[in-house]
């Protein structure tokens, strides 16, 4: 019993090791460090959002004379002013980080899981299983992403869960391809052949010899998937297909755009735009540094 526990703890450590080394590699790159810091700030803000948002994001703000505060410019009470419906922009902005990260992280984890499952099975077993899975991937790769998301969310109904489902259905395909190609090379390595010759089960080989070696690629793909998921959610919300019961940055831009506030209310339009750019770019900075560090031909030798 204690031995099994000991073994599983050892496995967890071995599995975490590549992530730790990846992290150490990343913080050596200045851009990646910025990316990680910005992403970290977004996570903290999203966690404590309900406590730091000054008002309810949907509550109409009233002036002292009891009139609705429409499009009020930034002031000491409302740091980022109000919307055309009298809502506090800063509160909406802070609460919006929750939606972005919830969709981004949940969808990316689901995408990572499915990509890894398909990629490993396809690459490790090969043959007819590989053929079937890869033909499925071909079909999935021919589906135009945003048009599919628009149609699917339009038909399923706009809710955060449906948006996450649609994003997962869309982005597993590229990851599966990438992970499969890594598994193909790992499968041919000497220790895998020895393990097989020694009579190790497929599950044992996959868990102990393949998975720890491909975790870095999975990690990169999950990082990029967070960016794609945030972007897709924002685009859907901007097109008016977001969850109407919560505020997201795409939705803020949709309302601002639809009510023609582009010219007058910069405080309503600029903040959600900048938040989206900051969040998505921070993820790309992490991903880029990762590619740069792992590709020896790109590494700076000077």
């Amino acid at each position: 019993m204690s031995q099994t526990i000991h073994r599983s703890v050892a496995w967890v450590f071995r599995a975490l090791l590549p992530i730790v080394t990846t992290f150490r590699m990343l913080i050596q790159d200045r851009f990646a460090l910025w990316g990680l810091s910005i992403f970290g700030v977004f996570i903290i803000v999203a966690i404590i959002a309900p406590w730091i948002a000054p008002y309810d994001p949907f509550a109409p703000m009233m002036t002292e004379t009891g009139r609705l505060m429409r499009l009020a410019p930034p002031s000491s009470d409302h740091w980022l002013g109000t919307t055309a419906f009298g809502n506090d922009v800063l509160s909406q902005l802070i609460m919006g980080s929750r939606v972005a990260l919830r969709v981004g992280l949940v969808a990316a984890l689901a995408v990572g899981f499915i990509s890894t499952l398909v990629g490993v099975i396809s690459g490790y077993f090969g043959g007819i299983i590989d053929d079937i899975l890869m033909r499925m991937t071909d079909v999935a790769l021919s589906i135009p992403t945003l048009p599919f998301a628009i149609v699917a969310v339009g038909l399923l109904g706009p809710s955060v869960d449906n948006i996450i489902l649609v994003i997962t259905l869309l982005f597993w395909r590229n990851g599966a391809r990438i992970i499969r190609s890594v598994v193909l090379t790992e499968r041919e390595r000497v220790f895998v052949k020895w393990a097989r010759a020694a009579g190790a089960s497929h599950l044992h080989i996959i868990l102990k010899h393949i998975l720890p070696n491909i975790l870095r690629v999975v990690f990169l793909w999950v990082t990029m998937s967070v960016a794609f998921a945030v972007l897709t959610e924002a685009s859907l919300s901007f097109l008016g297909l977001g969850d109407p019961s919560i505020t997201s940055w795409g939705q803020m831009l949709n309302t601002a755009f639809a009510s023609g506030a582009l010219r007058s209310a910069w405080w309503w339009v600029a903040p959600p735009s900048l938040m989206l750019i900051a969040l998505i770019s921070s993820l790309y900075l992490i991903g880029r540094a990762y590619e740069e560090q792992t590709n020896p031909r790109l590494k700076d030798h000077s």
């Binding site: 079909v139 038909l155 008016g240």
Partner: protein, 321 residues
């Protein structure tokens, strides 16, 4: 080679077939049933049947499926619920409008992006040009295209009032090609086209830069330099070889970046396929939505096919299995 092309073509046809099937069942199985939505109450049963037949909605789902696929083969996408005319007729003008921003946008974006990528790639490693080039490209890449569009609109249309930010102008009785070859159209085209170009630049830049950086360490570059060729010619040698991944990237990119073009069309109210798809979904005009989706999927399949065939022609190492 011929066997490879045939095999690849058959595969593409199979993919189109499967995607179309998925799409058909997606629209029919979903809770929103078009028959209940578009048939007004108080209609006689005969009138209802006539309407259902007109839209190909009578019979079992399998009969509908066979009918739909059969019609598709003859180029019949069904009739639009909203416009009350064939979906193909509705979509055709929108396709041309989309191509007006998509094709020049992609080509100019690829050209500007790869030119800038060459500069960044040849800049000293770890220097100012390289660092700021990469940082800027990554930030622009991280900007959703509707954010770029809104920014352009706010500055050049609302604030400076240089260009219109809505629609594509009024052709005023112009027909044929003359609808597009006038100053008013060009004036309307500038902003959405810029948004698409900006959308394509960073990816091209980063791709070209990686290619050049990799090529810099290759032996043949040393050889060229040892022959006493000027640095400019050396850069050209490295750049030309980095073009290969770029060319093959271009075709699938056209398809993949339809996503960016859809939102650009919405931001600038540009009457293209993407905007029409969104409107059709909102109006629950399924024949048009299905047809638009089908056209976009076909575009992706053709683009991937073209990419594979180009690649096999350009790179002799690719085996025609």
């Amino acid at each position: 080679m011929r066997a490879y092309i045939t095999r690849r073509l058959l595969q593409a046809i199979l993919v189109v077939f499967v995607v179309t099937t998925i799409m058909f069942f997606m629209f029919r199985i979903m809770p929103a049933d078009p028959t209940t939505m578009f048939l007004e109450g108080g209609m006689t049963e005969e009138a209802r049947q006539v309407l259902l037949e007109e839209w190909g909605l009578n019979g079992t789902i399998w009969e509908q499926y066979v009918l739909y696929m059969g019609n598709l083969l003859t180029g019949d996408f069904g009739n639009s619920f909203f416009y009350r005319k064939p979906a193909w007729e509705v979509l055709f003008p929108f396709i041309i409008n989309t191509l007006w921003i998509a094709v020049p946008g992609l080509l100019l974006g690829a050209f500007i992006g790869s030119a800038l990528g060459m500069i960044v790639g040849w800049a000293p490693r770890g220097g100012k040009v390289e660092r700021s080039g990469i940082l800027l490209a990554t930030i622009i890449r991280g900007a959703p295209s509707f954010v770029v569009g809104i920014g352009l609109l706010a500055v050049f249309s609302s604030y400076l009032n240089w260009v219109p930010g809505y629609g594509m102008g009024d052709p005023q009785g112009q027909t044929g090609l003359m609808r597009y070859l006038n100053w008013d159209f060009a004036h309307h085209l500038i902003l959405p086209l810029c948004a698409v170009i900006i959308f394509f630049i960073p990816e091209n830049l980063l791709l070209m830069r990686s290619g050049v950086v990799e090529a810099r360490t290759e032996d043949y570059i040393e050889l060229v330099r040892a022959k006493g060729v000027s640095e400019k010619r050396v850069a050209w040698h490295a750049g030309r070889n980095s073009m290969l991944p770029l060319i093959t990237w271009l075709f699938p990119a056209l398809a993949e970046t339809i996503a960016g073009i859809v939102v650009v069309e919405i931001v600038f109210s540009w009457p293209g396929v993407g905007r029409e798809l969104v409107l059709a979904v909102v109006r629950q005009d399924y024949p048009v939505a299905q047809a638009a989706f089908f056209l976009l999927a076909i575009m992706i399949v053709l683009a991937n096919l073209a990419a594979d065939l180009t690649y096999s022609k350009l790179d002799p190492r690719v085996a025609y299995k």
